[in-house]
Subunit: 589 residues, 2 copies
């Protein structure tokens, strides 16, 4: 062992010893004054970041005995993020194989990550564990694979109840279902759209993924190496449809979830669904909402809206600008959807005005994807699961400074772009603490535009810009508070969505929605993300205040990474493994 | 450098020096008396195995200057098949990056493999070379991806001519087309079946791949890790269909190739095709036949066949045994198709008799797939392309002894199975030189049964066995030469196919068919594989005697591995690179 590894090994031995006797341990000898322990379902059976020595000592005291973490061992020192002061390690708990990373400062841990990898005795049947699938023996009445598949499909949700019902068959629901399938958890996915992939297919024609492809891979079935960097939405749609087939996912399209009630005594949901017009009851033990983190469409209640003679619809209902040549279109809003729709209308020859009502974070997709090429994801030598883990090392709080630095860097390298855009009158923003795009995403998943060409149209005036509040709609268009008038044939409300918790209220009950509380956001106390500080995304991929209710969501990276954590939590419950959840003490007033 | 590597490095330097001055070199100082140099398109621009020092010196003299091989360097000594006497190396030619393997005996090469990997300056656009696919800029009239795809599909073969026309859209045609697509070679695949995958979909219901899945991966898009070992034919069919989409292959289903004429002066084919009843002319520079290595169905001309009152059809027309319960079925033949169909009929309740007319090689699928788990393919640490290369190291001639040993080993470990089968009267065979299954495959791709359950039915008498010649058919069944009578409601001719060269004769001309000669087979001088010895599969994946005519075929491993070699030959021609083909001198009389 090199000297470099010796320091890390010593720390790890000390940490393992302290976990063995948490009450007697000197935690401040192990952790620096400023320190974080981020745990992904390994020790806490939830997703939590503990801040400071006291919080860490509290979790250790609460969890260590029940979890039984042991066998800590340094991992390959050739891995990325390995040097004299940081390194990867592996360990086991009573139920799981886990991985971790520690970053030392003067021999004490500043950042510690622990993460579940797989359940012992419930590993995925891959490689040498792969099933044979066929007995090489003749037998009368043997079923063919299509017959077996058809029987399984007919049984699931009718004669056989799923252990997990996933509402929502987009990338989040399907990736979770794929993982559950591999773990042998009977799972049914329902989606209101007819065909898998329709959630992409039915959106406006010019849509592409914003993230380069190497960030977007699905578990088990990576995109082909030759596909271009940016995936068009129809290709994404077809990929989802293929994924359902390839991963053997039980999928009901054209199915709406009407109501769900939880029977605490039986630990079971009664879920009313409408499938192709027929009313059915499904009785899963676990219910996962994977419908996206939005509630219903939000349309502001503008005076005079009923008088407006043209068409008006919410951005979600925009199906493309075909036929709008020469029409006067007003897009209310200045975030992603507003820009994308304004561009689409302009490309189809419309006269477009965008109404900006509040300052907006803008980042250039070209810059972001160029910089993304330096991420571990772009390095074929780094397995994607490991790149995900690398990205999870730094908790949100210490990440703030890095995000401010990154935002400053973007402002600097794209200064001519920002200057030109500002000169057009566009109200640029970088977040109230100037932490920029990524923190805005984590805090409220809104308030920004990832520029794929719209900003140049705004800067050049090809898309007209109006700023300020709307006074009312008239028969002919939009009357602004400053007295100006925007004549319109079409008004598009790119005004966002109601809170997600309203969906829970509708589907389950207002009481359960209130108990679960906000979903997404860190509790940063910034606009749209009220405190208290939570340090992790609220209610995502982890136990909620309602037994048996789970939320799976986020972008493609989060979908892939955290579907593993949620799948393992669900599998552990199905197998009756102990899953003692750590509940942090309430924050000090 | 270790001593181990020094010997190999010395040999490699000597070899490079000898190639620099082939006439002056002492080749017998470099190569052992018994030696082989197998070249896969690296030095010979064909696929050839040279046997003995003289043959090697001849190729070196003929090719070395034009090819310009240089920069020989030992590869990672940690690779498989690396020790004191063998190792991998890389080198370049004037046009290509190549890889090789050498096995020394007392400092001289006994076996040398050289293989093309990629063309310099024409590398596949993967990883960092991946196209962006989308400009982040608004533009009026911008086409969406489905629109672009539809335009490309409409143009190919009509307003735009393919450089390569591939006849046959099974796994061979599609894998080749995928590679060509990645290399930027305009390619069109035509297939008589309506839907991609129908070549599998339309076969009898119980069919599964015989090879375990880890041998069967397609280029660029490996099967998911959790799929069972043995792929059912409908899943394979769906996979082919998905492959066409994912790999952006221009594919015309429902299209028959009627005739093809080569214009030597223009270096172009005129190919008449019928697409959905419409007659079209396609003008590719290169024509690839990927229709399987069989000619038309072969049905022996049995006296009285016209009198037989029941149904009779060729094995290729068997669509499953449904409805045959209680029927008397006679299957003529004892190879794979005969067994599979006999089993299928038995599973559906028929009374089945198999007529064995000649001895048959039988290997157990369970044994084969168990042993396959020791192949590099089953090791996730070995990339599949490298496993393919490992399998190519040993040429066919030195492989004979190993194959006899393997066949003997199978006979030993499955002795109770073979004894029980022989006791039933089944006429077992192991090849005229006892080299068993694999050599039978390479020599004539016939004469064997891979037992997936049929042998037990034969051994137990559940499938009745008749042996010997057929005298005639009667109204009621089959009259055997020994005077016995087999009453029948159905006769299935599992009697194989006409030679593939007849397809060339039909499609192009008898003259071209005669010029090209036999396809497949090594020239071993054994039954069905007449000499002269060629040492490689005849006309496969390499230049034929007809300019612009190529043959792509073989099992899934060969399809994957050799489609690379054929694709690179075609790409080199499209780019106008020098491709001097080595023509070995005719064998001594």
């Amino acid at each position: 062992m090199t000297d470099q590894q010796q320091t890390l090994a010593d720390w790890l031995r000390g940490f393992e010893r302290a976990l063995g006797e948490p009450a007697a341990a000197d935690w401040s000898a192990l952790f620096a004054d400023e320190c974080w322990w981020r745990d992904l379902v390994a020790v806490s059976w939830t997703i939590v970041t503990l801040e400071g020595v006291d919080a860490i000592a509290h979790m250790a005291a609460a969890q260590a005995q029940a979890i039984g973490a042991h066998g800590f061992a340094l991992d390959d020192p050739g891995l990325p993020l390995s040097d004299a002061e940081q390194g990867w390690f592996t360990f086991e708990t009573g139920t799981a194989r886990c991985r971790g990373h520690v970053q030392l400062a003067e021999g004490k841990a500043r950042i510690l990550l622990t993460a579940i990898v797989e359940l012992i005795g419930h590993e995925e049947p891959t490689g040498a564990r792969r099933p044979q699938g066929l007995e090489h023996r003749a037998a009368k009445g043997r079923k063919t694979w299509p017959e077996q598949r058809a029987e399984r499909a007919a049984a699931m949700g009718t004669s056989e109840q799923p252990y997990v019902l996933v509402v929502g068959g987009g990338q989040n629901g399907l990736q979770l279902a794929a993982r559950l399938g591999r773990l042998g958890v009977p799972t049914l996915v329902i989606d209101a759209h007819e065909r898998a992939g329709d959630c992409w297919r039915k959106r406006y024609p010019s849509l592409h993924l914003h993230d380069p492809i190497f960030l977007d891979h699905f578990p088990y079935l990576p995109f082909p190496e030759h596909w271009p960097l940016f995936t068009p939405k129809d290709r994404m749609a077809d990929w989802l449809e293929h994924y359902v087939e390839a991963m053997d996912i039980a999928y009901w399209g054209g199915t709406r979830c009407a109501a769900a009630r939880y029977d605490e005594a039986r630990g079971e949901w009664t879920v009313e669904v409408e499938r192709d017009g027929e009313r059915l009851t499904v009785r899963p033990k676990q219910l996962v909402l994977a419908t996206g983190l939005s509630g219903a469409k939000y349309v502001p209640d503008l005076p005079g809206a009923e008088r407006f003679a043209g068409r008006q619809y919410h951005s979600a209902d925009h199906r493309g600008g075909a036929g709008m040549a020469g029409k006067r279109c007003v897009v209310i809003g200045s975030n992603n959807s507003a820009h994308d729709i304004a561009v689409d209308l302009w490309e189809h020859g419309a006269e477009v005005t965008m109404i900006q009502r509040s300052p907006t974070i803008v980042v250039r997709a070209d810059t972001m994807s160029e910089l993304a090429k330096h991420l571990p994801y772009a390095n074929p030598a780094v397995p994607i699961d490991f790149a995900d883990l690398m990205g999870a090392v730094t908790p949100y709080r210490p990440r703030l400074a890095a995000e401010k630095g990154f935002s400053d860097y973007l402002r600097q390298i794209d200064a001519p772009f920002y200057e030109r855009l500002a000169a057009s009158g566009f109200d640029l923003w970088h977040g109230e603490d100037e932490t920029g795009f990524f923190m805005a995403y984590f805090r409220r998943a809104a308030g920004y535009y990832i520029d794929v060409g719209g900003s140049e149209l705004v800067a050049s005036g090809a898309i007209a810009l109006a700023r300020g509040e709307i006074a009312e709609l008239t028969e002919d268009g939009v009357a602004m508070a400053d007295g100006s008038m925007l004549p319109a044939d079409l008004i598009v409300y790119a005004t966002g969505y109601r809170p997600f918790s309203e969906r829970i209220a509708e589907l389950v009950s207002p009481e359960v929605a209130a108990k679960v509380g906000r979903c997404w956001g860190l509790g940063s106390g910034t606009e749209g993300d009220p405190g208290p500080w939570e340090g992790e995304l609220r209610n995502m991929w982890k136990p909620t205040a309602q037994d048996g209710l789970w939320i799976q969501g986020g972008n493609l990276m989060q979908a892939r990474f955290h579907s593993l954590h949620l799948a393992l939590q669900l599998k552990a419950r199905m197998e009756g493994l102990a899953t003692p959840i750590y509940r942090a003490p309430p924050p000090l007033p």
